[in-house]
């Protein structure tokens, strides 16, 4: 059989016989990817204006939308605490806002259980814009019109980037569940 088609006995997660997903990978990939996304924008030097959207938050929403039920409802608090340590926002802002976001998605999902790409994007876009505004309000600096004006591209970028990040989360999910362990 394999001589005819090497991928005959495999699916998108790899070979099916005597293989299993690696347990540490199954558990850690979502958390590791969200924390990495929080830490990556730190490496840019943004001296005049905020350059990058909050990748950590987008990654959290993407995982929550792509894989409902994978992240527990309370996952926003610890992941937000890590984001606060590196993002420059006052400590506690992401703990609060990410927890609220997780509860909000849960409530939206209870109200509209059938979903599709456009509806997901709409939900995520609305949440990203609200999160962007809330972040500016609680940043610890008094909000000036100039600050909002230079941060506006950030809001646009976070809405436009969501589909890409959702695809990335889906790809990471395939990596997470790929059968890497051989059962003897």
């Amino acid at each position: 059989m394999e001589r005819l088609d090497p991928r005959a006995r495999s699916d998108i997660y790899g070979l099916r016989i005597n293989r299993a997903p690696a347990p540490w990978r199954v558990r850690s990939v979502p958390y590791a990817s969200i924390m990495l996304a929080s830490a990556l924008p730190v490496l840019m030097i943004a001296d005049t204006m905020p350059l990058a959207p909050s990748f950590g938050f987008l990654m959290l929403i993407a995982w929550r939308m792509v894989r409902p039920g994978l992240l527990p409802l309370w996952a926003g608090a610890p992941l937000g605490a890590f984001d606060d340590l590196v993002s420059g926002q006052p400590f506690g802002s992401a703990i609060l806002l990410w927890s609220l976001a997780m509860i909000a998605i849960e409530a939206i999902e209870a109200r509209f259980p059938w979903r599709g790409f456009w509806q997901d994007w709409f939900t995520a876009g609305c949440m990203a814009v609200v999160y962007w505004l809330a972040c500016l309000v609680v940043s610890g600096a008094s909000l000036t019109p100039e600050m909002v004006a230079v941060a506006a591209p950030q809001a646009l970028a976070s809405v436009l980037l969501y589909p890409l990040i959702a695809r990335l989360a889906a790809g990471l999910d395939r990596f997470r569940l790929s059968r890497a362990r051989t059962i003897d």
């Binding site: 001296d47 039920g69 309370w74 608090a77 937000g80 590196v86 600096a141 600050m147």
Partner: protein
């Protein structure tokens, strides 16, 4: 696609309890977050040690990207340099001649300065940098403008110390970790710096606007003497900065001062130096009555603390 029905617990008591606990924990997380947020807005320095540990972890990766950044800037500058090299060469040669003359004049002024300072019995204001390091990162997603520096309390960096590049002022150290520290950039909307015009003594405050420009607000209101193209330098008031370091160039005039562009852009710098607080004794005296909790971002007192009184007194003893 409908999501899996994780919300429907059915008759299983265990499932019902775990679902309820999830909601409870999420709400508790939000409440704890709100409390921590209120605490850190009230006392901004409260979580500095935690953030110090986190920035110590992130900084080594930042050093790599900082090196790559400075390398790529060099490549681009080199590529651009090949175009119009001839006319630029002639232009530069002429500028160099003029600069050489000005340098000689400056040497003469410097010698005269030293002589006059000797007559007055003032100590020389030059101080050695505490540390030299790269800017390794910044808070690129936040509305605040902080940068991370690759040197911390292990190198003697303390909160409040000024950070300078070879062109001018970058900002001030806000928090220190062991091997990294957080710098409040001049463009942050909470940053206030006492300045004066370079050619005379028109004094003002340079406040960050949060959009990369500085708002220059004159202390003496009346007829606005500023002009587009004026250079403002640190006045030394408040005691943190050495007087006479370049800060910004006026780009636009407003009724109460002007809007200025930075001279030293953090993104374009390679290495920066952390200088000791210019008049640490005066700063300690100013801070003491306000209480020890005053953050370094607090507005410096407008009194001209850089007046040489304490130094002169020390020299006479």
């Amino acid at each position: 696609m409908a999501p899996p029905s994780s919300r429907r617990a059915g008759f299983s008591k265990k499932a019902q309890f775990s679902l309820f606990t999830g909601y409870l924990l999420a709400a508790a997380g939000a409440l704890v977050g709100a409390a921590l947020l209120a605490l850190s807005l009230w006392q901004p320095a409260a979580f500095a040690p935690l953030r110090g540990v986190a920035s110590d972890v992130v900084t080594p990766a930042g050093t790599g990207t900082a090196m790559a950044r400075s390398g790529s800037q060099g490549i681009f500058a080199g590529l651009i340099g090949y175009f119009n090299a001839g006319s630029q060469n002639a232009e530069l040669r002429r500028e160099n001649e003029i600069a050489r003359i000005r340098l000689a004049e400056a040497e003469a002024v410097k010698a005269e300065n030293a002589r006059l300072k000797g007559l007055l019995g003032l100590r020389d204001g030059e101080s050695k940098p505490v540390a030299t390091a790269r800017l390794v990162g910044s808070t690129a997603t936040s509305g605040r403008r902080h940068a991370y520096l690759g040197a911390g309390s292990a190198s003697g960096v303390k909160p409040g110390m000024p950070v300078l590049s070879e062109r001018g002022v970058i900002g001030r150290v806000l928090e220190t970790g062991r091997f990294s520290s957080r710098v409040l950039l001049l463009t942050d909307s909470e940053s206030v710096l006492p300045v004066r015009r370079a050619k005379d003594n028109v004094i003002a405050f340079a406040e960050g606007r949060g959009d990369g420009l500085l708002r220059i607000r004159l202390v003496n209101l009346g007829v606005n003497p500023l002009k587009v193209g004026d250079m403002v330098v640190t006045s030394g008031a408040g005691g943190y900065y050495r007087p006479g370091v370049a800060v910004a160039i006026i780009a636009k005039i407003t009724p109460d001062g002007g809007i200025a562009r930075l001279v030293a852009e953090p993104a374009a710098t390679n290495f920066v130096t952390v200088m000791p607080i210019h008049e640490a004794a005066a700063v300690a005296e100013l801070e003491a009555p306000e209480g020890a909790g005053a953050p370094p971002a607090a507005k410096p007192s407008p009194t001209p603390a850089a007046s040489p009184t304490p130094v002169a007194a020390a020299a006479e003893e």
